[in-house]
Amino acid sequence: MKVAVVGVGQTRMGEIWEKSLRDLSLEAGSLALQDAGLEGKDIEALFIGNMSAGRFIGQEHLGALMTEQAGLLPIPATRCEAACASGALAFRKALFSILSGHHEIVMVGGAEKMTDLSTGQAVATLASAGDQEWESHIGLTFAGLYALMARYYMEKYGLTREELALVPVKNHMHAMKNPYAQYRYEITVEDVINSPMISDPLRLLDCSPISDGAAAIIIAGEKVAKKFSSPVWFIGGGHASDTVSLHGRKSLSSLSAAIKAAEIAYRQAGVKPKDIDMAEVHDCFSIAEIMAYEDLGFAPKGKGKELLISGETKIGGRMPVNTDGGLKVGHPVGATGIKQIIEIVRQLRGKACNQVRDAKIGLAHNVGGSGATAIVNIFSREGG
């Protein structure tokens, strides 16, 4: 049996003080239903990716709450959590519910409301995706964890500060045309290297923002999906784990969970890295995108910067990455994995804000924590 995405919807990403987690989720879900041309009664189950509503807004038990909010009672609802990879995890669980024969049409949402807290509180909440007893407890933040990887990588492979800045420069350029993006302005290498230091060597413009937002997709089994005009088919996926603590890892310059997840996804899809027409990668901090090029097989180990400098990962290049702006569009952590899938669906439908010409196959790479969870999903325009 095959599964396809048949509807997508998302909110704007950003500091959306006037809207609650419930409001944002309802908005994204309603847009996905409209896009699919379906009604609420067609949805058989709901899966929602969310990292930490319990700490961000003091609310747990989101599955049932969102079902109630969407007026979809009494369908079953499941909340999925794997830090910043919660969205892709929810997609996988929804996928399995169809592949197992339990459901035919399922909604998958991802949502996070992060700006009700102060920056210090939000940073502490995000740090709980690291090892609370051994990393967060000494004051290590997420920017700090990626900064530790950045310095290690830069010294090992000779990546310069200016070269690293090309990641946010590219993604800001892509986000200019994205109506949902939190930031829509161009930046230069000078802007990046002169922005405030957050955690050496990472500066403000290397970091994804603290955001509110929600995204939703509707997926369906083959029989139903074939009735839609432009279904986007899931063709392969992988999910792997690593130590939650960064210090527990064998490598500090790659994410072994991402390498493993990609290997499984490529094998299941029967495609190779060179077959991918565009990718959404988890660029929570700029170093993460360069490591992702290598972990996903787009560039050999240590050569990710050459792919970046060549311009091939820009729109118009041979291998466009983060065509919607990546996590520079905002990073409401639970929503990100679904937002990535939405961009791939738009690209494969030929209706993206930065359209890749004749895009047939897209890949999404969603990472939780500093690399403890990695989920890679591959989609195709054809295959139904």
Partner: protein
């Protein structure tokens, strides 16, 4: 906001204050923080307590300038990943002037205050690292 409660911290006191970890007698892998199970040897492993010297070298480091709640008054502060001489790696704060920070430098442990829960809350202690005088 920080969730390191008194009982949680009390449980970790021995390993945090005395650098007690574990090692597997079957494959000689050392674990700090302590792990009760050797993932390589699994049921064939023989995991026993091991006290680390805390001496090691800096593999990578950063200076935290935007701190989480509870650490704002300490910022900026340096954190490194230290490779202990026995082979285990640990994240720890590195005290001393930032100018001396460099990868590869030798460090030794020092007992320090980690943070205070609040003005009238408990004080959390533990190990930080200091760069060896010679290096």
């Amino acid at each position: 906001m920080h969730t390191s409660s008194v009982p949680l911290y009390w449980r970790l006191q021995k390993s945090k204050y005395g650098l007690f970890g574990t090692k597997c007698l079957s494959c000689n892998t050392h674990f700090y923080p302590p792990k009760p199970l050797c993932s390589e040897c699994r049921r064939k492993g023989r995991v026993v307590e091991h006290q680390f010297s805390g001496k090691g070298k800096i593999l990578t480091f950063t200076i935290i300038r935007t701190a989480p709640e509870g650490f704002e008054k300490q910022a900026p502060y340096a954190i490194g990943i230290i490779e202990l001489d026995e082979g285990a790696k640990i994240a720890g704060q590195i005290v001393g002037p930032f100018e001396r920070l460099a990868t590869g430098k030798r460090v030794r442990p020092v007992f320090r205050k980690i943070y205070e829960d609040s003005d009238d809350g408990i004080i959390h202690y533990g190990m930080k690292f200091v760069i060896d005088g010679k290096s």
